[in-house]
């Protein structure tokens, strides 16, 4: 309470010198526009029969939604979205924690090794997807095919047999380094004296990890989960350049379904309804993220 009163007094005092409105407006006004206008238009489109190939556009109420929710591709897409997010998240947290602990150690050349582990996060999505698809996973000349063939295991047609898993591997390759970066930074702020004291008391490395390191990482892990979820919910480029959502709908997620409906089938109304479903899904996650960040502001 005292804090609020103080800052209120401060703004009143300095209010004479600095009016914050004009300072905030250039940021806030465009953002308000960006946050509400396009979304409102999408909502409106989703209630229309609106096809770019059909000159007649008219109001149809919730028809697009009822069509969408009877279309099996929506449920395939929802499932693929959730599976992709879930799989990559598990990989990120498990490997991210292991890597963070590993690269927190001092060893010869550890600072260069750290950079190497983080590097994939800076590779643009289209590059990583195409390099994996061609140079590594391609079933005839790819490196993986060569390795499995040399070991006498036969050849896997990655994108034909396991399209969603293959995309998941590529996406995980980009996001595990992100988790490592965040968790490594968090571990390095761990109280060294506490660790030393536990070691003196004879704590084993495993119990140190579970009772000291992991509790310290609880909040950073929560942050990683939520930030990655936001980005992973809108994976698009990786699917576009590898499988085009196929075979069939096997690797179509929600964003890709909307893209297909709207920009390839020209059904703006149906695509908008799918977009609204994506927004609702993202908002559920966003609420949790905002709570976590709000706590860190105090």
């Amino acid at each position: 309470m005292a804090n609020v009163a103080q800052s209120g007094a401060r703004s009143k005092r300095s209010g004479r010198e600095v009016r914050t409105g004009p300072l905030l407006a250039p940021t806030v006004v465009p953002l308000v526009f960006w946050a509400f206008v396009p979304l409102a238009v999408t909502l409106w489109f989703s209630l229309l029969h609106y096809n770019l190939l059909d000159p007649i556009t008219h109001f149809v109420g919730f028809d697009n939604y009822s069509f969408l929710f009877t279309d099996p591709s929506l449920f395939d897409a929802l499932w693929n979205t959730v599976a992709l997010v879930g799989g990559v998240l598990i990989a990120s947290i498990v490997l991210g924690c292991l890597f963070a602990v590993l690269f927190d150690q001092e060893f010869y050349g550890c600072s260069i090794a750290r950079l190497l582990v983080i590097a994939p996060f800076f590779v643009m999505p289209t590059v990583s997807a195409l390099i994996w698809k061609n140079l590594l996973m391609q079933p005839v000349n790819g490196l993986f095919a060569f390795i499995t063939r040399s070991l006498g295991l036969g050849v896997v047609d990655w994108f034909g047999t396991w399209p969603l898993t293959s995309i998941g591997v590529i996406v995980a390759w980009q996001w595990v380094p992100f988790a490592t970066l965040i968790l490594l930074t968090a571990i390095q702020s761990l109280d060294r004296e506490q660790v030393e004291a536990a070691r003196m008391d004879g704590a084993k490395p495993v119990s140190m990890f579970f009772f000291i390191v992991l509790p310290h990482l609880a909040r950073p892990i929560a942050v990683v989960i939520m930030i990655e979820t936001i980005f992973l919910l809108s994976i698009f480029a990786e699917i576009l350049v590898t499988t085009n959502g196929g075979p069939g709908d096997a690797s179509t997620n929600l964003p890709y379904l909307v893209y297909k409906t709207a920009l390839l089938d020209f059904d703006v109304g149906g695509g908008s309804a799918g977009g609204i479903v994506a927004v609702i899904l993202a908002n559920v996650v966003a609420i949790f993220l905002l709570r976590t960040v709000a706590r860190s502001l105090d």
């Binding site: 914050t20 953002l31 396009p38 590097a119 800076f122 289209t126 390099i131 960040v293 860190s296």
Partner: protein, 273 residues
């Protein structure tokens, strides 16, 4: 002393093994960029070969690579510049003249980042078609400014908060006007922070692949969208794909290395420092 050294050597092995494994696709791509087309698809794969620069020459001359690279540079730098200029006053106001609503304002700005792009693609696409902004550099710049404004404002705000209030107070008593405080004290003091904010924003713009693919066709294509075009039969030219990819990621990987720590702060909205 002995067991400690032994442990360190063991760690060195494990650490480097993991690091090289994770970074392997990047090495493999780099190798392929210097192979001939025939060498790049050879089985068993070529490990020792006479490196050639012909792919880079080819990519540069035939694929209009310089045009796309220029688009990427112009778009990222311009969008970043405007985002910072627009966000600076807001960050100053929130950091030094906070009100009851500052926290809500920050959180609301953050929440605009959470709207999935796919939810607003159609109105933007159709509006851009009417306004003749499709496939233009300025069209993408506008989107990227809006996309990065919350992160940029948030980061500069957190760097301003690190500047001791006493310094500003002292300068105010000495008779400095608010705009003098900002230009002569605050910006120079927070310059390293502002620089890393700029780097983060450039990285995010450079690697953005949703709007760039959907809103550009030929003229305004940045590198993300250009590389995406290799998914067609052109992708069969692995050496050229690798050379183009290497050129596209090299500058940004270096920038990323330079700004790691501030990156953590920006990407987690200050929740992890």
């Amino acid at each position: 002393m002995r067991p400690k050294t032994k442990r360190k050597i063991g760690m060195t092995f494990v650490g480097w093994f993991v690091a090289l494994l994770v970074a392997f696709p990047i090495f493999w791509m780099t190798l392929a960029a210097f192979k001939t087309e025939i060498g790049a698809v050879a089985t068993p794969p070529e490990l020792f070969f006479w490196p050639t620069l012909e792919n880079f020459a080819e990519v540069r001359s035939r694929a209009d690579y310089p045009v796309f690279a220029m688009n990427s540079i112009v778009i990222s730098v311009t969008a970043t510049f405007f985002a910072i200029v627009i966000a600076l006053p807001a960050a100053y106001a929130m950091a030094f003249h906070p009100s009851r609503h500052t926290k809500d304002l920050l959180l609301w700005m953050l929440s605009t980042k959470m709207m999935p792009a796919i939810g607003v693609l159609l109105p933007i696409y159709l509006a851009y078609r009417e306004l003749h902004l499709l496939d233009t550099v300025s069209g993408l710049i506008i989107i990227y400014i809006l996309m990065n404004l919350p992160i940029v404002a948030w980061m500069i705000y957190s760097f301003f908060r690190d500047v001791p209030k006493e310094i500003l107070e002292a300068s105010r008593i000495d008779g400095a006007k608010p705009w003098q405080q900002v230009t002569m004290l605050l910006v120079p003091l927070a310059l390293p922070g502002i620089a890393s904010t700029a780097l983060l924003s450039i990285i995010l713009c450079w690697n953005e692949a949703f709007w760039s693919i959907n809103l550009t066709a030929t003229q305004a294509r940045p590198l993300t969208a250009f590389i995406a075009s290799f998914s067609s039969p052109e992708g069969l030219f692995w050496a050229k794909l690798s050379a183009a990819s290497l050129l596209a990621i090299a500058p940004i990987v270096v920038l990323g290395f330079m700004t790691q720590r501030q990156l953590v702060r920006g990407l987690t909205f200050g929740a992890v420092k």
